[in-house]
């Protein structure tokens, strides 16, 4: 099996497993307890927070551990909505891009159901953010803008740095879904006025169900769950110390290897893309018109349906993904590709091949051969 679905989940790094096993076997208590075991757990948790903060060039007190990327996004968006409603705004106004992950889209839909107004911002195939008429000024008064750094299906890299400046100018907080950007782009919280940033562990080689929400100074949110005062009251509940440690180790390694790794992944992606296009000239590369993160290649495959294509690839030993699926496992037409390229793009079967830290050139070469053979099989029919 050649695993090319790292954008969905990438294997746990060995160092992460070791660090987590150490926590699991050591005498750690509840970080809120004042006895020795509790203090040991607290120390491990705060070390992890410090390590994560350092990797992102922010202060440890800005880092909130949460249970996964979706939770982080929901906390940022709906926590902000709750805060806005509580501060007397009748109909808080939110903006998101048309390419957002379902976590952002669904959280915003929930916000709409609670009386918010949600507006979408177009993104061009060249990854330019098309602000509403009036530019930065038109953002004034919004309760939150939420835009992803790297698109989960195409790898498109959005100009979040410039958007952060526009938002700051308008005095509007910007939440960045950086889940696909983690370990692939340089994330420097001190360099850009980003108000909130979400990351997820299992995209970095850390454990699933771990993640964090970084909040800049002065950004006010309400919690989504209630209990003890953990994570500065924003995410109560006994902390997952092993998860936080695993997350911090994965993030730390990803950031330290970032420069070398992005060059390596970009070369692998290039090899995959030219290899496939050489054999299958009818493929359409999605995202090719704009800057892309190095780990994702998305192509449209003619003459087949997405569910058949992926079943055939799985049978041939290729683990890939259409990039979008509903809960039943059936493949649904991609709102991302529709937003970027119109209805026409949904006629081809989307195929997302994504690379990760264990990916090797030999695998890429074998994948080129196998994927080509499977796709040629469909075209021949």
């Amino acid at each position: 099996m050649i695993y090319l679905d790292h954008a969905a989940a990438t294997p746990l790094r060995r160092e992460v497993a070791t660090a987590m096993a150490e926590i699991a076997h050591a005498p750690y208590g509840n970080p809120s307890s004042s006895h020795g075991w509790g203090r040991a757990a607290r120390a491990a948790l705060e070390d992890a927070r410090e390590r994560a903060a350092q990797a992102l060039a922010t202060a440890p007190r800005r880092v909130h551990f949460v249970r996964g990327g979706t939770e982080s996004i929901n906390l940022a968006i709906l926590g902000r909505v709750d805060w806005a409603l509580a501060s007397g705004r009748a109909r808080p106004w939110l903006l998101r891009s048309t390419l957002e992950h379902s976590a952002v889209r669904a959280a915003m839909a929930a916000a709409e159901a609670r009386g918010c107004i949600v507006q979408t911002i177009d993104v061009s195939p060249t990854a330019d953010i098309v602000l509403p008429a009036g530019g930065a000024g038109a953002l004034q008064g919004a309760a939150l803008v939420s835009v992803q750094w790297v698109n989960q299906e195409t790898g498109l890299r959005l100009p979040v740095e410039a958007l952060a400046e526009s938002c700051a100018e308008a005095g509007v907080p910007l939440h960045v879904d950086a889940i696909q950007a983690g370990g692939k782009l340089h994330i420097d919280m001190s360099a850009h006025p980003i108000s909130a940033l979400s990351l997820s562990g299992h995209k970095l080689g850390g454990p699933a169900s771990t993640g964090l929400l970084v909040l800049a100074e002065g950004v006010e949110l309400h919690p989504r769950v209630f209990g003890g005062g953990q994570e500065r009251g924003l995410r109560p509940g006994t902390e997952d110390v092993a998860g936080a440690v695993g997350f911090a180790v994965a993030l730390d390694i990803s950031v330290r290897q970032l420069e070398r790794e992005t060059v390596r992944l970009a070369a692998l992606r290039e090899r995959l893309e030219t290899g496939l296009l050489g054999r299958l000239p009818r493929l359409r590369v999605h995202g090719a018109e704009g800057p892309r993160a190095p780990h994702i290649l998305n192509v449209g495959v003619p003459d087949t349906s997405p569910d058949l294509l992926h079943a055939a690839l799985d049978g041939a030993g290729i683990a890939a993904s259409p990039g979008t699926a509903c809960r039943s496992g059936a493949v649904t037409a991609s709102p991302v590709l529709r937003a970027l390229y119109g209805e026409e793009a949904t006629r081809n079967a989307p195929l997302r091949l994504s690379l990760g830290w264990p990916s090797k050139p030999g695998e890429v070469d074998r994948a080129v051969k196998t994927v080509s053979a499977v796709v040629e099989g469909f075209s021949a029919r």
Partner: protein, 366 residues
């Protein structure tokens, strides 16, 4: 011979065992569940198959058997071939048989084309029916007459028969459950599904209300009349009624009344006494034959007009390309337009069609 076979897995016990038996025989088995309509991303409707829960169960069984499992989105095809037909037939005052439509189109034709694309030799389902492979393949009733489901299979494309497998055809339900337990399948004790998978139990009228245009005749009240034309009451819209039905006609009659006929053009429902329910002649349309030499005029066949009903002897009066007319040896009750008529010669399923009309004893043809 080792074959690569795609098994339609609904998540029910029958298709689970079908997959297990083929895998045990050493075939290269791939499980597939067809997503036939939108589950609205929530569990339910509370059905034993077809919903999201069905997909989850099918996946668990496939994983237990060590076979791959995929979900195929056939919503577009299913809506076109099954749901739209279901709604249209009720709108025309007939009683459709969506399971037959699904077998004739979605389950066999659409699934078979996917199987071929995946390099499979054939497809299998958990139907209780048998295939005789000597010479031209013929479809036979399942060995267990109680469980036999061949009635639902008359509409299969005949050319597909050679690629089909019915691993349960020689088994009874008790044996299937026992094998499911022996194999420790998660679905061994699931209750049977008998309802229409895309309509919440007992709510088909509400379903029709959401699909038919507002104010459609089928949902508009109309008169209940006798065969003599006397108005004896009102009904709530003819889509709620089926020939032979007694419930829902209101009370106050001197004797029990039954639906004899639905007349969509005038929104009339003809009601009458039990003995008026019997028809001696029947016309059948949308014919499909599964044998190379279909029976012609004057031939005696046995015909089954309801699931689980016994078959009855009849003589074919006239046979056209897509339709025929027959006379029952003894008049039959509840001949419902829209329902299936399946023709048999002994255990052999010859083919079938949709009932298009009937003639009551002592009355002219409808």
């Amino acid at each position: 011979m080792r074959r690569r076979i795609l098994v339609a897995m609904s998540g029910g016990v029958d298709s689970s065992v079908a997959a297990a038996l083929l895998a045990r025989e050493g075939h290269d088995v791939i499980g597939a569940t067809m997503k036939t309509f939108c589950y609205r991303e929530t569990p339910g409707p509370t059905k034993t198959c077809c919903g999201l829960d069905g997909i989850t169960d099918a996946r668990r069984v496939a994983s237990h058997l060590g076979i791959p499992h995929y979900v195929f989105d056939v919503e577009e095809e299913f809506t076109r071939d099954v749901i739209d037909d279901f709604v249209g037939e009720y709108g025309r005052g007939r009683t459709p048989n969506p399971c037959v439509r699904c077998n004739s189109n979605t389950k066999f034709r659409d699934l078979l084309s996917r199987a071929v694309a995946l390099g499979c030799d054939g497809i299998a389902t958990g139907h209780y029916a048998r295939l005789e492979r000597r010479g031209a393949p013929t479809l036979l009733r399942g060995s267990d007459r109680e469980k036999d489901q061949s009635y639902f299979l008359w509409g299969l494309p005949a050319e597909a028969l050679s690629r089909l497998h019915f691993p349960l055809g020689a088994l009874g339900k008790g044996e299937v459950r026992k094998r499911a337990r022996d194999l420790a399948l998660a679905t061994a004790d699931k209750p049977e599904s008998q309802e229409i998978c895309f309509v919440p139990v007992g709510h088909y009228r509400r379903f029709l209300e959401t699909r038919l245009p507002p104010g459609h005749a089928a949902l508009t009240p109309g008169p209940l009349i006798t065969t003599r034309g006397d108005v004896v009451g009102q009904h709530r819209g003819y889509a709620g009624y089926t020939v032979g039905q007694r419930k829902g006609l209101g009370g106050g009659f001197s004797e029990p009344l039954y639906v004899l006929e639905i007349r969509p053009a005038t929104r009339e429902i003809v009601v009458g006494r039990r003995e008026e329910l019997y028809s001696s002649r029947m016309s059948v349309g949308a014919l499909n034959w599964l044998v190379p030499d279909p029976p012609g005029e004057g031939r005696s066949v046995r015909v089954q007009i309801r699931h689980r009903a016994p078959d009855a002897p009849a003589v074919l009066l006239s046979v056209g390309v897509g339709s025929l007319e027959l006379e029952f040896e003894t008049p039959q009750r509840n001949v419902s337009p829209g329902q299936s008529a399946a023709f048999y010669d002994g255990p052999v399923l010859l083919g079938g069609g949709r009932i298009s009309g009937s003639a009551r004893k002592g009355a002219g043809s409808q």
